[in-house]
């Protein structure tokens, strides 16, 4: 197990390095002289020269990259062009809504998707199974912001069960936060519920056809026991994959959902930073999002081995 972890960590580091190169290159191509942006209105040529020297902009590009990497590794993600505040502070202020929304979405998707898929697997071709198949296609094709507006129309405008938009911070109490995030979480869940249910269904159908399930049944185990104790764990790996993919693509999904629901999270920060051409913030966000995605993939790879020791062989 240990050499495996070490090997995967090393390759993750290489991937992060490539992301860092890309992110660094992004600013290089974006035009715009950082020194001019940094110096503010109408700077003298001497002042610009001094800033260039301090920021290392007079050095060759590879040296600049290494210097930049060094400051990033030291936890300094630079200063926002737009607000003049440290990038990490800006990100820190916006991280709470996105984390709560992501966790809420994942929990909701798992609680609905897995039982739905398992139930559909018990009767392939049945009514529930056909409903699930239609639901998944629709959930994939329905753009996030349209799903959001449909939910807002039904549950906020007509029924008035949930707020139209906005976010209640955790300091107001968990109940209020979850209440304000329910429609956004349902919006994001739609596609994962479909994916998770379909994967669970496929995995379960495969497992339920095995001999040992028939043995369990012939010895008098009821359906619930067969599904939960015998079949589920063996189908869990495929489900884990989808949960991992879900978390990774959730990071894309929050951008649009947070915009529709006016949630002051990292997704909204990304949109604002891009529209303002605030590259230090964009760089920081890409690096952090990519690291989270890599960390999730790594964890899932390790969990495979915990759940199913056969993978290691």
């Amino acid at each position: 197990m240990f050499p495996f972890i070490l090997k995967r960590l090393a390759s993750s580091l290489v991937v992060i390095l490539i992301v860092a190169m890309f992110v660094f290159g992004l600013t290089a191509v974006s035009g715009g002289d950082p020194a001019v942006i940094f110096a503010g209105d109408d700077p003298s040529p001497e002042r610009l020269e001094a800033i260039r020297e301090r920021m290392g902009l007079d050095r060759p590009v590879p040296v600049q990259f290494l210097l930049w990497l060094q400051t990033i590794a030291g936890g300094d993600f630079g200063t926002s062009f737009f607000t003049g505040r440290p990038v990490l502070t800006l990100i820190g202020q916006r991280v709470e809504p996105t984390i709560v929304l992501s966790l809420y979405t994942i929990v909701m998707s798992i609680l609905v998707g897995i039982p739905l898929g398992a139930a559909a697997a018990l009767r392939p071709g049945g009514a529930l199974d056909r409903f699930l198949s239609g639901f998944t296609s629709l959930a994939f094709a329905l753009p996030g912001f349209i799903a959001a507006y449909i939910l807002i129309y039904i549950f906020a405008v007509e029924l008035r069960w949930f707020p139209v938009q906005g976010y209640q911070p955790l300091s107001e109490g968990l109940g209020r936060t979850l209440w304000s995030l329910t429609l956004p979480a349902v919006t994001l869940s739609l596609i994962y519920v479909g994916l998770l249910a379909r994967t669970t269904r496929a995995a379960m159908i495969g497992v339920l056809a095995q001999d040992y399930i028939r043995t369990a049944r012939s010895r008098g185990a009821n359906t619930y026991r067969v599904v939960v104790h015998h079949a589920f764990r063996n189908g869990l790996n495929a489900v884990l994959t989808v949960i991992g993919l879900g978390i990774a693509s959730l990071l894309s999904g929050v951008t649009i959902t947070e915009t529709v629901f006016a949630i002051p999270g990292l997704g909204r920060l990304t949109v604002d930073a891009v529209l303002n051409r605030d590259y230090p913030v964009v760089q920081g966000l890409i690096l952090i999002f990519a690291s989270v995605k890599i960390a999730v993939n790594l964890t899932i790879d390790l969990l495979y081995r915990v759940v199913d020791p056969r993978v290691a062989q």
């Binding site: 390759s11 992060i16 490539i18 992004l26 996030g144 507006y149 129309y153 894309s252 993939n297």
Partner: protein, 278 residues
């Protein structure tokens, strides 16, 4: 995460999918949208004609799908949007396929290039799709070219993965080895023997890229990082009408309906292609 490969390339030959209901729905819808997009402007109103007096009207005989916040005819705008969405879908699918296949062939066939191409690939895949697209779209002035570029780059690694996995299987297959022994050049082996066998497995992937691109353009335009304001793209239409959502929800739903049906049609074609490949 594993990539599906098949040990026998012969079962990957491209076969025409059976004419099922879903395929007819998919192709039919796309055909109608294409005809509307190409010729709709002949018999419809000007999608940009302002008429503030007629703003936010519900469906009527004058305006079949109502009017938006500036009194523009929504049917005309949505039909003009079909042209943009289909163009973006096709262009992104085409460019991503060309670049993805070239890189996939190189990585799969020339083993020395493999680690370099695949590490860069992993790096690109580590950046969330939409975030990458948004960042790339911000590099220059908003335009159709920038949107196509921004949506193509994140899709290339997905094509590379599928193409490389297939090439790895194909290069060990008897007919490629036979071609090699009989003295065919590497270029000829790649273009004459390997490339044609990529068509079937890639055709499925390409339809999904097309669907993602259509959704991606709408998403980018919706958050303001895609096509310029006032362009009749489905994403822009939703974005410019969201302020009137409470008074006139149909202005948002009309564009959303077209978008959803289009993506359903594209993925229906993809699903049928996959079924016939299996």
């Amino acid at each position: 995460m594993t990539v599906q490969t098949s040990s026998d390339p012969s079962d990957h030959r491209f076969t025409m999918p059976r004419l099922s209901f879903r395929l007819i729905f998919g192709l039919g819808t796309l055909g109608i949208l294409a005809i509307l997009g190409l010729f709709g402007s002949v018999f419809l109103q000007d999608p940009n004609a302002l008429a503030p007096a007629n703003r936010l009207q519900f469906f009527s005989s004058d305006h079949w799908l109502g009017t938006d916040g500036l009194g523009r005819d929504l049917l005309a705008r949505v039909v003009a949007g079909a042209r943009i969405s289909l163009a973006v879908g096709l262009l992104v699918a085409a460019f991503a396929t060309v670049f993805g296949v070239i890189l996939g062939l190189l990585a799969g066939y020339f083993r020395r290039l493999d680690p370099i191409i695949m590490r860069v690939n992993d790096g690109m895949l580590a950046i969330p799709e939409l975030l990458l697209a948004v960042a790339l779209a911000s590099l220059a002035q908003a335009s159709l070219t920038m949107v196509v570029f921004a949506l193509t780059v994140p899709q290339i690694p997905r094509i590379v993965r599928v193409a490389r996995a297939e090439v790895l299987v194909l290069r060990k297959s008897p007919f490629v080895e036979a071609a090699y022994i009989s003295g065919s050049s590497r270029f000829k082996i790649l273009t004459r023997h390997v490339l044609p066998n990529l068509v079937a497995p890639l055709s499925v992937q390409v339809t999904y890229v097309c669907a993602y691109a259509i959704l991606g353009e709408a998403g980018l335009s919706f958050i303001g990082a895609g096509l310029p304001a006032n362009t009749p793209s489905w994403g822009v239409i939703v974005s410019e009408n969201r302020t009137f959502f409470m008074q006139a929800p149909w202005t948002v739903f009309v564009a959303g309906f077209f978008l959803t049906v289009t993506v359903l049609a594209v993925s229906a074609v993809g699903d049928e292609l996959r079924k016939s490949a299996e």
